[in-house]
Symmetry: C2
């Protein structure tokens, strides 16, 4: 997705440890028009998949997911990173290890919001080691829902998550795939087609 | 906003402790079309205020804020509830006490994303005791930005936050104001005009 790649080239910052900081339009400040373009792109790629809901993870997955859901006319469910007191114990949950934060979080979704009749598109902002998507897949499988695929805004193609998910037979559509962040330079590879 | 009130009447659940659970369309599952209507309503109310950015709080403030930002053509900045390792120390921060979760959280915004030239609309999903909005105001004031007002999706009018903010001279626009949750019934009052 050229619009997204341009934005990454203009505003992304490469930090030590292969971190790409896109806080100016995705992870802290959000560019709503770009999110709409991203949501429309996901809707175009997965619009024929019979989706009933989008499943994502708070917080940075919410904006692109809501825009995709708006286009497709379906609800978005975001997994929470810990339980709140206003939620009952009827939860699907999974553990997700974050290499960035060096900690495990429990993520959970109320059983009220996904079920075996659902066909889910999983959306997340970044795909690196794939731990967050694995957690969302775990929750989706617990619910018995079908999984149409995974939509990723930015994939770090030099980390193992994308290959790992595709080797499971999942359809993974990443709107920008980064092949390298070496020498503080962002290099892209073309989106995988399958 | 009648569409929102109807949704609250149809799907809101009153829990013990004056909790209104709207997990089916706002706080866990999100109704994108309703979020767009809410965003459009905020844009209509504050569209003449010279806004440059929307300031909100993760996670449930993000969806209505992004829709308002889309309508107005301005970015959204969401305050984070704790620091991540990918963020530097150049932060505005404030402490927010949550009566629901019975704990204090630090919320923070990167100094890169709001400044004295900004005119901010603060948006949040709920207004009860007003602690979250006070934290966002604190951050806005640290940045030197102007504050055009506060847009709230659901105000609990029987709790003190709304009056407290209005008494500060702030323009507070709540799209649904609940006057009572007694006897597990949702009762609304008309939106305050000022």
């Amino acid at each position: 997705m050229q619009l997204l790649k341009n934005k990454i080239m203009e505003e992304g910052k490469v930090l030590p440890g292969n971190v790409l900081k896109v806080d100016s339009f995705l992870n802290h400040q959000i560019d709503p028009a770009l999110m709409q373009a991203i949501g429309d792109e996901f809707a175009e790629k997965f619009g024929q998949a019979g989706l009933t809901k989008i499943l994502t993870l708070e917080s940075s997955g919410i904006a692109p997911s809501v825009m995709a859901g708006l286009n497709l006319g379906i609800p978005v469910v975001f997994a929470r990173k810990r339980k709140s007191l206003t939620q009952n114990s009827d939860l699907y949950s999974a553990s997700v290890y974050s290499y960035t934060k060096q900690e495990s979080n429990e993520i959970s979704v109320s059983k009220a919001h996904i079920c075996e009749n659902d066909t889910l598109l999983i959306i997340d902002d970044f795909l690196a080691n794939g731990q967050a998507v694995l957690g969302l897949l775990d929750i989706a499988e617990q619910s018995g829902a079908s999984i149409a695929g995974v939509g990723i805004v930015i994939e770090k193609g030099f980390q193992p998550g994308g290959d790992m998910l595709r080797e499971k037979g999942l359809r993974v559509e990443s709107l920008a795939i980064i092949s390298s962040l070496d020498n503080n330079q962002v290099a892209f590879k073309e989106a995988a087609v399958r």
